[in-house]
Amino acid sequence: MTEILARTVEVTRTYGSVTALDRVSLDIHAGELVGLLGPNGAGKSTLVNLFAGLRRPTSGTVELLGGSPLDPARRRGIGVTPQETGLPPALRVGECVDFVRAHFPGAVDRGELLDRFGLADLVKRQIGGLSGGQKRRLAVALAFAGNPRLVFLDEPTTGLDVEARHALWDAVRDFHAAGGTVVLTSHYLEEIEALAKRVVVIGEGRVLTDDTMEAVRGLVGVHRVTVTVPETPDLPGVIGVEREGDRTHLLTADADALVRELVLTGVPFSGLEVRPTSLEEAFLVITGREPQPA
């Protein structure tokens, strides 16, 4: 069993009457590249904020590197991305990096870090004058400034063009290949697919699915077959049913076979539509029907 770098045990976090996380237990092992996936408001950010020591759980425990995330010494081993809109505009890129590095005894070399994220030419520029993409790259670079064992990357490539996005993915892969642990949150399926080895889907404050990328890819193959039928026929291969007015949505892994079966039943149907479901959609429907042990 590899070392557990961070974990939550039965963590619940509420904001007033809103439950952001509901008895979530999650282990992050050394060397993992975990993708946290879920719609906005699902609880991803709350989970990351708990690990980073920004919030306390309402109940349950959060552990980081063998201690409490509220202990600054534990946080020497992690790196977090700030929101790029908040970077201090008056500071120069090099100064901002130096400022963050000063907090970590084992910080990485400034020049090396800036090179890694394509920021070397910008070292003397004031942050306020950078483009949105440059700020985003700087924000991600800051997460790596302290030479962390574990980084939390929150929507790291939002707003980047394709080239910059791939360069950043390469930097994340290099960090992981050298033994680093990454927790990546995104609501972009593409980004999670490109990077993560393990995928945790969060919805309505709960862990809906926690599995390898391969297993998750199988689920992405789910299609949605929509028809207008008087009553829902009983068909093989249907893994989820949703009714919306007179329309019936059937979720299936094999849309072709399902349509063939539908025709053979002789049920009068109209308005046949077949389209791939999004990962989130598939998860929410599937796990809503058959809750997985979280």
Partner: protein, 246 residues
């Protein structure tokens, strides 16, 4: 300790690179020196010394109210602030760094006033009086520091700007900072001044630099202001921490 200096250094850099905030704190008192003190009392050594003391308090109050009040409120609104909380440091370096930064700004704010007093008026102090005066100024800045922190932690930044400005002017005028030596101030100012912290602060500076003997009432009120705003600042800080980081 090195983290405190790191935070102080970068906060100072951030402040100084938006020079208008520093200029505001130093130009206004300097202009008041040039327009009011130099022509009207510049030739009277005693009156000029009193006026210089008042302008120093004016400069320090402005630096405190604006740098703390608006600075803290603006920082709270930025996502950079929660990011800093994820760095391996407690709240102390940031807090102490801010206090050092404001002291730096205060120093910059009072230099023009001191220079104008020295070269363009007959105001005189002995080196010891100067030193005592600066110490008194530092002590007298305490209620405004706490007031600024309270404003910054209790209010959103747009409100903080307005409140700092609204508080600032009556404090300066009511405390008698703009009406010359204490004996020549208009009656209503004589009546209200002892109850304002500006008066207690300036009396400390006058006592250090002239043969003025401070009134017990002013000093007692100064202490009361420190206690009240100390309590309010702590309350606002805790409330803010609890709201954002619980």
């Amino acid at each position: 300790m090195s983290l405190v200096l790191t935070h102080a250094r970068y906060q100072f850099l951030e402040t100084i690179r938006v020079p208008i905030s520093v200029i505001g704190s130093s130009v206004f008192p300097a202009l008041a020196m040039l327009f009011f003190v130099v022509p009207f009392t510049g030739d009277d050594a005693v009156a000029a010394t009193y006026a210089t003391g008042a302008m120093l308090v004016f400069a320090v109050m402005s630096a405190c109210l604006f740098t703390y009040g608006i600075g803290v409120a603006e920082d709270r609104a930025q996502p950079w602030d929660p990011y800093l909380r994820t760095l391996p440091a407690g709240p102390l370096p940031r807090f102490t760094g801010r206090i050092l930064t404001v002291m730096g700004i205060m120093t910059i704010a009072i230099i023009p006033v001191l220079l104008i007093a020295a070269f363009l008026t007959k105001a005189t102090v002995t080196p010891l009086q100067l030193l005592l005066g600066l110490a008194a100024l530092l002590l007298g800045s305490l209620p405004f520091t706490l007031m600024g922190l309270f404003i910054g932690y209790a209010l959103p930044s747009k409100a903080a700007i307005v409140v700092a400005q609204v508080v600032f002017f009556p404090m300066a005028v009511g405390g008698g900072l703009l009406t010359g030596p204490p004996s020549t101030a208009p009656g209503f100012i004589k009546a209200i001044a002892p109850y304002l912290p500006t008066r207690g602060a300036v009396e400390l500076v006058w006592a250090a630099t002239t043969d003025f003997s401070p009134a017990l009432l002013s000093l007692a009120m100064l202490t009361l202001w420190v206690v009240v705003f100390g309590g309010l600042a702590v309350w606002a800080y805790r409330r803010d921490e609890g709201r954002r980081f619980s």
